[in-house]
Structure formats: structure tokens, C-alpha cells
């Protein structure tokens, strides 16, 4: 393999890993607050279809992204109300959100299947993109990839260095204690869940506006689920999520690599790779159970009802 191909592969790995990065960034914040939202796939599909329709209708890509974000948040709000206020089971509600989102997105997007759109154009960042190899891998992407870089950096800072991060950690570790010292647990969780929704929406918009760029039913192909595994893989650390997302991106474009090596394997078998990789990752991280328990937000998936304090 020559250097050019490697650069191409790494560039593609980042591009493919970006939607995973967006969802996982949203989900990690949500999980840090103690809420497990299995509805990622549904929120992402809704983001994809609404983003596509908005951009298609208005001709404005930015508007498409904003609409997708808003849609993701609205979807997550349904989840939040059921889980946080009504105390519904988080797993079941998340599944319902995914099933609902899958159906609704297919329903409203039915007439637009196969329509294409002029996607975002890559922007080469002056100077940085001229760095040999690295410039082409990192700095000649479209604007959403740069946005994902920015969001990662922002979240690393917020989670680790600010009082907001400390509050988030407190709510996720022990909501009763957090409530007792005056933190508004439900408010923190609502905001976290909705941030997760907005990020999942963005990820969906990335799929339908940049990656393909068009709308196809079920086009996210399980990325929402893979992102959930990614969060565990990264041990709930924001920085590591970026690395994990690109590794999964690499697994998804393995056929490029193998073609580069001159192997020929059925594309249907290669399509399994990201899923097999996810299972392997689950095995590897699960084996170190002690560490996982140590790092996972302590109240993850458990309901909190401030009325039951007494």
C-alpha cells in the first residue's frame, strides 16, 4: 500500500467516524447524568430525514442542520418526559423511541427517497491543510467535521474543568446526594438528554446531507447502537470517544483497505465488520468488569424521583 492510499483511508475513516462521534458525544453527556437513552437510532433517523427535508426545501444547508438538531431534541424530550417525570423504564422507553423514530422517519420521508442534494463542500483550512499527510487527513474536510472537532474539545473542557462538569458527575454518581445539596437533578438530566438528542440529530443530518447525501429509509444502519458501545469502550471519557469513533470508522471502510491489499471478499460479509468489531469490543471491555464498574456513572439507568426522598 502506498502512502497516498493510507492518507485516503485515514481521511475516509474520519469522515465515516464523524456521525458516530456526534452521537457518542451526546450520549456520553446523557449517560454521565445517569440516563441511558437507547433511542439514539430513532433520534438520528429523525434528524436525518428532517435535516434532509429542511435543506431540500429551503436550499439552505445550515437550516437543515439546525432543523435536525431541533428534531433530535424534540425526540429526546419525549423520552425525557417519560423517563424522568413518569418514571418509565429507561430501556423500554429507549427502544420505543428507536422504533417510533424508525417508523416516523420512513413515513415522512417516503416521497423523498432517492432525491439527492448538493452536500457540503470540503473546506481546506489554509496553512494547516498544507502540512504533509496530516493536512490532507485532518484539515480538508467539510464544515461539520470541523464542528465535531470543536464539540469534542469543548466537551473535554466542560466535563473536566468546569463546575458544570462537576455537577454533571455528581448527578450521575449519586442523584439523591446531589438533590440533598441543592442541585436540580431533573433539570440537569433534562438538559443532558436534550443535548444528546441534538447531537444525535446532527449525526443524522451528517448522514443525509454530507455522507451520502440523500435520504434512504433506515440509512443509519445501526450506528446509534454502535455509538452506545463506543461510549462504554471509551470508559465515559470524552477524549477517548473521538479515538474510538475513528477506529470504528476505519472498521466500516475495511473493504477499501482490503481492496487496497488486493483481497476480494464478498461485500456482504465485509458489511458485518463494524458489528463484529462492536461485539469484540464489548467482550474486551466487559472482561475488565472491575474497571467498568469504577468508571461508569453509578446511577446509570436507575430512576430518580425527588418525591421518594423521605
Amino acid at each position: 500500500m502506498d502512502a497516498d492510499l493510507i492518507v485516503q483511508i485515514l481521511f475516509a475513516a474520519i469522515k465515516t467516524g464523524t456521525p458516530l462521534l456526534f452521537i457518542a458525544l451526546g450520549e456520553v453527556i446523557c449517560e454521565k447524568s445517569g440516563v441511558l437513552n437507547l433511542g439514539q437510532e430513532g433520534m438520528m433517523l429523525m434528524g436525518a430525514v428532517v435535516g434532509f427535508l429542511a435543506a431540500y426545501g429551503s436550499g439552505n444547508m445550515g437550516f437543515g442542520i439546525l432543523a435536525a438538531m431541533a428534531m433530535g431534541s424534540i425526540m429526546s424530550l419525549i423520552f425525557a418526559v417519560l423517563v424522568l417525570h413518569i418514571g418509565a423504564n429507561q430501556v423500554a422507553t429507549g427502544l420505543a423511541l428507536t422504533i417510533f423514530g424508525t417508523g416516523l422517519s420512513a413515513f415522512i420521508g417516503a416521497d423523498f427517497v432517492g432525491q439527492t442534494i448538493q452536500g457540503f463542500q470540503p473546506i481546506a483550512i489554509p496553512l494547516l491543510s498544507d502540512i504533509p499527510y496530516v493536512g490532507r487527513i485532518l484539515f480538508s474536510h467539510d464544515i461539520l467535521v470541523y464542528f465535531s472537532f470543536f464539540m469534542t474539545a469543548l466537551l473535554v473542557y466542560v466535563v473536566n474543568k468546569t463546575r458544570i462538569g462537576l455537577t454533571l458527575k455528581a448527578v450521575g454518581e449519586n442523584p439523591h446526594a446531589a438533590n440533598a445539596i441543592g442541585i436540580k437533578v431533573l433539570r440537569v438530566r433534562y438538559l443532558s438528554v436534550m443535548f444528546g438528542g441534538a447531537m444525535a440529530g446532527t449525526a443524522g443530518a451528517y448522514m443525509s446531507l454530507v455522507y451520502t447525501p440523500m435520504w434512504v429509509e433506515g440509512m443509519t444502519a445501526g450506528r446509534g447502537w454502535i455509538a452506545l458501545a463506543l461510549v462504554v469502550f471509551a470508559s465515559w471519557r470524552v477524549g477517548r470517544i473521538m479515538l474510538g469513533a475513528y477506529l470504528f470508522g476505519l472498521a466500516s471502510i475495511m473493504h477499501l483497505v482490503l481492496q487496497g491489499l488486493g483481497w476480494s471478499i464478498s461485500p456482504n460479509l465485509l458489511a458485518m465488520l463494524p458489528y463484529v468489531a462492536t461485539v469484540l469490543v464489548m467482550v474486551i471491555i466487559g472482561a475488565d468488569h472491575f474497571k467498568e464498574k469504577l468508571l461508569a456513572p453509578r446511577s446509570l439507568g436507575k430512576p430518580f424521583n425527588p418525591r421518594n426522598m423521605a
Binding site: A170, H176, A177, A178, A180, I181, G182, L294, R298
Partner: protein, 514 residues
Amino acid sequence: MKKNNPISRLELANITKQYPGCLANDNISITLMPGEIHALLGENGAGKSTLVKTIYGIVAPDKGDIIWDGKEVSIKSPSVARDLGIGMVFQHFSLFETMTVSQNIELCLSKIQLNKIGDLAKRITQLSEEYGLNVDPNRYVHSLSIGERQRVEIMRCLVQSVKLLILDEPTSVLTPQEVSGLFNVLRTLSKEGCSILFISHKLHEVTEVCHKATILRGGKVVDTCIPSEETPATIAKMMVGDLADQDAGYSKKEGTITVFNVTDLSLPSKQPFGTELKNINFDLKAGEILGIAGVAGNGQDELMAIISGEDERNVKNAFTLGKLKIGHLHAGERRQLGMAYVPEERLGRGAVPDMSLTENTLLTHSTGFVKNGLVQWQSIKEYTSELISKYKVKCHGEFSEAQSLSGGNLQKFIMGREIGQHPKVLICAHPTWGVDVGAALAIHQALLELRDQGAAILLISEDIDELFLLADRMAAVCDGYLSPLIKTEETNIDQIGQWMAGTFINTAVQEAQA
């Protein structure tokens, strides 16, 4: 009440709080003066916790007024309480284990307070020296002992310069030596004008430090007194009404042959922040109660889990039942051989909350009730109603869900269920924790009866008084070590207290190395 006095720090007037099926606070009125240490006394379920949670803004009262420094206030949340100058130390600590002491304290402070303080770590160190609290701001909370954690909670309040400090059963988790350290801090605070509301059910402590006491029973104020003018016995009478003369003292027995033996049990902790068991040895004889004292979190839970087999790790040679090695057997097999357990957590472990008592009988008692894999529901039903009447379990019937029973009645049921299987060995953790005096008495009787029938009983408890009352031999755990065993008649509270604090450990380690 007394209108001529200077302005009171806090006045509660006619506080009422109704929960479904339970009137937790019924027209409670209390007055606290600046610098006063005021005890709030009562049995579990008397309404103490609800009342202090009302003051701290966690629980909203249905009725009643709160007057703070002469002004009527509405405390809608803990942050309102803190702004007023109210601080609270919880029974189950509200600390975050994965954060440092300094971060834990920072979370409780508003931006304004933080700016005023400036360097928080410095301030913590300074206060720590001033009050002799010995708190290091940079340590992670999970590495702190229970006593240290409590001091962090107190530090949280001190940093905010509170005017009223509420302590919810602060001494139940401390060794006797740590308790006296805490009392010194409280006296210093009181002298500086800080009022203290002190919840307890340990009467000698109340007579030692408190200026005034209010006694609650069934959600009502039944009496007030000046503790220094009373004795623990007279206060006890006020707390429980007519049931006070329970401490008759029971006869001690000497065990016969060893039925259960623990040899060289060492086990790393399974949970993060759990306790590692270190070289534990003891023998349990037929016809005796062996009491194990210790502050919570010193390895009791881990010990119970590995003996019962809930912790599934193989410790083949560590346990001997009769002549059989049982350390490799799983929990169900151990039960078949005659082991029975009464766990600390009665709802959610000892009984399934949303299952009927009949189903909860079958939970551990399947012998004779399962034929060819099929459950004989009719005979279990009949047996369960016998259990209910024999142990006077108050409930609607054998169809009642476990969660609908009060703690004491559920404990009587669980105790009866385990005893009904005629165990050779009964492991019993905190059997009377949180139950009323009548139920406690019944549970004590049941244990003694089982002992007299020749069963071996291991009694794990945090309540030293109970251990002295029931146990024939005693030991203490500290940091995963077990102290030597000693006959109850040959020891005293002071020695067991020292052991709970770990004074035996150095010799134990040396012996192990020799």
C-alpha cells in the same frame, strides 16, 4: 411558646406532613435558641427524619410555619436552607466518592460564596486545624473512612458558616472513640453560637451533650425535657411509652461442638471501594450466639456474602460445615445442607417487594413444597398462614405483598421463615435495625429459642447494646480484619470499642506473618 425570650434561631409551628398511609409529622412545634444543642429523640418511624428534611427543604410540609431568626420563611429547597445558614449532615452521607474532598465541598457553595472564600483548599485546611477535624482537601472521598467522611460533611457546613447544624444519627456509624471527638466539635460550635439539632436514639449520648430534648412518637411531640436532669432510663420511658422494661438481660450459654468453621479466609474486594477480607478465622459452636461488632463498611457485607455463597467465588477450604468443606458449593447447595440467613436488607433481598408472602415463603423454603419441579401452591399457602399467626406478623393475609408490611413485621416473617427450616447455622445481620421495640423483643426471643434448640447463630450487628444483650461470645471487625473471640462476660464496651477501631490489627498482622 416563650415570647419574652430573645429571638429564637428556629421555631417550628404545627408542622404536619402526611404520606400515603402514614402521618409522618402531626402538629409538631419546636423552638431552638442560638447555641443550643437540641436532641430530637424517638424510635425509628417516629418522624424525626421527615421533620429535619422539612427544615432542610427536601420535604415540603402539608401545613405549619417555619420561623427563622424571628421571620417567617418558606424553605422550598436545600439551597434556600443553605442560604439561610442551615447545614445538614446526613445519616447516609451525601458525598460523591469519585471526587476529592475539595470538589465535594465546592459543589455545595454558590459562586458568590466561592468568590468570598477565595482559595477553598486553604480555607478547608485552616478550618480543619481550628476544629481539629483533620480533613485533607485533596484526598478522594472513596479513600476515606466513615468517620472521616462524616467530618467532611461537617466541614461542608463549617465552610458555609452555618447558624444551625442538623445531624441525623451521626454517631451510629462511629466507634465510641470517634463519638467523643465529634462531641468536642459540637461543643465548640455551640459556644460560638451555632445551634445544633441532634437526632439520635442513643440516650446516654443525649444526656452527655444536649441542652434540651424533644421526644417524638408516632409523628407527635410526646414530651420535652432537659436531658441533664434525666437518666437514660427515664428518657427511654418517654420514647417508647409503656414498653420500656425490655432489657431484662438473658442468660448466657456455652456452645457445645463446632458446627461451622472459617479458616484463613482472605478475599479481595469485588466492588470498587469495597473492603478486602484479611485472614479471617473463627469457629461457631452449636447452641451459641457469636456476635460480631463493627462500624458499617468494615467487611461485614463481604463476609456475609461469601459465607452465604452470594459472592460466587470459590473459597474451597475456608468453610467447614460439620466435617464437610463447603467453600466451593453454590448458595442453594449450602442452604440444602442447613445454612440459613437473615440479611440486613429485608425488603429487596430478604423478601421480594412486589410478591406475596406465600411467594416469599417459597423464596428460600422449597423443601417439601416442590414436586417434580411443580410448585404446590396450596400447601405453601397454608404453611405461610401458619407462619403469620405463629410469629404474629401483622398483615392482611398470606396474599399481602411483602412491601405492604412494616419493617418489624416483615422481619418477623423472614425470621420465622428461616427458623422454620430448622437450620444448623443461622447467619443474621442487623436483625432489629429499624424495627419497633415490640418486634425487636419478639425477634430476640426467637433467636434465643433457636439457640437453645442447638443451632449455631452468627449475629452481625452495629448495635453494641444488642450484642451484649444476646451474644455468648463476641468479636469485632475493622478494615476486613477480625479481632480475637472473647466470652461476653469477660469483656466490656470499652474493649469492644477499641477493637472496632482496630487496635487488635497490628498484633493480628504480626501473628499472621510469624
